[in-house]
């Protein structure tokens, strides 16, 4: 079995004076499903296109299967790509679309047929094999585009925002399809999206990019629970993490975090030990996810502290209700039980789970 690991070493992409990608290091293991995620213009698509060979790299090295491919044309990199707008050949049938690459390489007819049949079966498009792309729905076209990649049996699959053109329901469905296909074919995959939910659900590891740099690489859970920067903390998770200006104080030999004049909480021992050496001044942010801001109840765990506030707006979602309020002018979002009686403009006692808090340097954005 061919090794199909991908490595990027200090890869840079410059357009005239603009650096779109500013020195990326990334190791993608064989069989791994990697998702590059970030806001538009963060360099994720450019990075993917450099791996594909559609863009020259300005500096650094890209390796596929251990070989430097900087100057290798796309067709010799043994990769397959799925585009956002599918890019199916409109004058060819589904079967012809899928077999185009194999036909160019003069594979035997029997093998082409076998591979197309197998891929069609895998993607559940056997009935569509003789149709033209314009006779297909968006989801079907997306399957064909994936089929075109699968029949080539490449070292690496590259996906460039493949689900962005689908409606929300279909997107969820195709997301699961892609995951299933990857479980079956196990091909090393690099997947680009701006949708953090897609990134979290699909990836073995997520690469969060911002302004041409990698902010953090990690499993979905690592990114969610141990974000390295404010950008990652705010980007992953919906509704986004709250950032509340705060300061550390000592009182009675205990370390407290003060949010407002009124609200100050003692830190749980583990957190106190971790933050003990930090300066006792402003310029800190308390990062807390909405699910760690819930309604108060009778049995509070250690490290969970309560405070009273007045809600601005509530959003009932069915399984939960999102509550919005402000602390000294900072808007904050919490998630409470729909039966907790949260009402617009009403006072409410909320509980903050400080075991799941983060402390950030406001200036550098680094999670401390």
């Amino acid at each position: 079995m061919l090794m199909a690991d991908v490595a990027l070493r200090k890869v840079v992409k410059r357009y005239d004076d603009v650096e779109a990608v500013r020195g990326i290091d990334l190791d993608i293991a064989d069989h791994e499903f990697i998702v590059l995620v970030g806001p538009s213009g963060c360099g994720k698509s450019t990075t993917l296109r450099m791996i594909a060979g559609l863009e020259d790299i300005s500096d650094g090295d890209i390796m596929i299967g251990g070989d430097v491919v900087n100057d290798v044309p796309p067709k010799d990199r043994d990769i397959a790509m799925v585009f956002q707008n599918y890019a199916l050949y409109p004058h060819m049938t589904v079967a012809e679309n899928m077999s185009f690459g194999l036909r160019l390489k003069h594979y035997p007819k029997a093998e082409i047929k076998a591979r197309v049949t197998e891929a069609a079966r895998l993607l559940d498009i056997t009935d569509l094999i003789d149709r033209k792309p314009k006779q297909l729905s968006g989801g079907q076209r997306q399957r064909v585009a994936m089929g075109r990649a699968i029949v080539r049996n490449p070292k690496v699959f590259l996906f460039d925002e493949p689900l962005s053109n689908l409606d929300a329901k279909l997107r969820v469905q195709m997301r699961i399809e892609i995951k299933k296909v990857h479980q079956k074919v196990r091909t090393t995959t690099v997947y680009v999206t701006h949708d953090q939910v897609e990134a979290m659900t699909l990836a073995d590891r997520v690469v969060v990019m911002n302004k041409g740099r990698i902010e953090q690489i990690g499993t979905p859970n690592e990114l969610y629970h141990k974000p390295a920067t404010r950008f990652v903390a705010g980007f992953i998770g919906s509704p986004a993490m709250n950032f509340i200006p705060c300061r550390l104080e000592e009182s009675g030999g205990k370390l407290n975090v003060r949010l407002t004049d009124r609200i100050s909480f003692p830190l749980p021992p583990a957190r106190a030990a971790r933050y003990g050496a930090l300066p006792r001044n402003d310029g800190l942010l308390l990062g807390i996810r909405p699910e760690h801001l819930t309604e108060s109840n009778a049995h509070l765990e250690p490290g969970v502290e309560t405070f009273d506030t007045v809600l601005d707006v509530t959003e009932p979602m069915g399984m939960e209700t999102l509550v919005y309020f402000s602390l000294d002018g900072t808007p904050v979002c919490g998630r409470v039980n729909p039966n907790a009686g949260a009402k617009d403009g009403a006072p409410m006692r909320l509980a903050m789970d400080l075991n799941n808090m983060h402390l950030l340097n406001e200036e550098t954005g680094v999670v401390l």
Binding site: G53, L54, K75, A80, Y86, Y89, P90, G101, P133, R152
Partner: protein, 301 residues
Amino acid sequence: MSTLVIDKAGPTRKLGSMSRDRAWALRWSYFFLVLFAIFFLTPPLYMIITSLKSSAEISAATNPWWVFHPTLSNYVELLTSNQFLRFFWNSAIISIVVVIVTMLISIPAAFALARMKFWGSATLATGVFLTYLIPDSLLFIPLFKMLAVIQDLTGITLLNRWYVLVFIYPTLTVPFCTWIMIGYFASIPKELDEAAIIDGASWLQTLLRIFIPVALPGLIAATIFAFTVSWAQFLYPLVFTTSVDQLVLPVGITTTLIKGDVFNWGQIMTGALLGAAPPLIIYAFLMDYYIAGLTAGATKG
């Protein structure tokens, strides 16, 4: 009183205004279309009427819009005349070769200008079109001089030979066809050639197996244009060919059927009608393939 009327009319007008406006728009368009159809179809109709008359009836003082003694003699005479068939043959062979030459130059040129970004490609694309804007009436004297010089230097007879037109017509057809094809190629989504490149296609394979089939409507439009221009060209053949056996149809008809101040109207009209037939037939056949939206389904839209 008047305000009352307006108040009453207001709501009803709002309700039906869309379809009523559309109905009026339709009526006006039919009115003008019929007007234009009459304007443009009257001359050919008059030609048909005249072509079915004998010379005697044409010069007789009867109603010119009616044929009293219809005859096919003009058609028989022309279609059995070796001279006329020779003109026809010359026109056909020149037009077909010009179309082939034009396509062989225009398609690769348009592909290169639309897709391969190289230094000066945008300027070159505009330049190609600008050359089309120079009228042939400015070019025929220098071209004649050029050919004469080349003929003197090489000893190859170029003047008064029908095949020289095969080299000259593309100066008219190539710029325009290249321009049309650039537009069509540019409308093909970039991802389509990127997909082809990743599938392992070379530039040539991308052109032959993706671009040409996808841009077929544009290709047909360009082909029709090149054929029509070659078929109807008058000035260049008039200047560059003089012997009767080298003439093309439009020049042949006017030079051989007008003898001094004697106009053989019946045969002139017949010749012109027969000459107009091939482009008409080509339009009729190729229009079926001239379907917009062939790219539908390539990408999302």
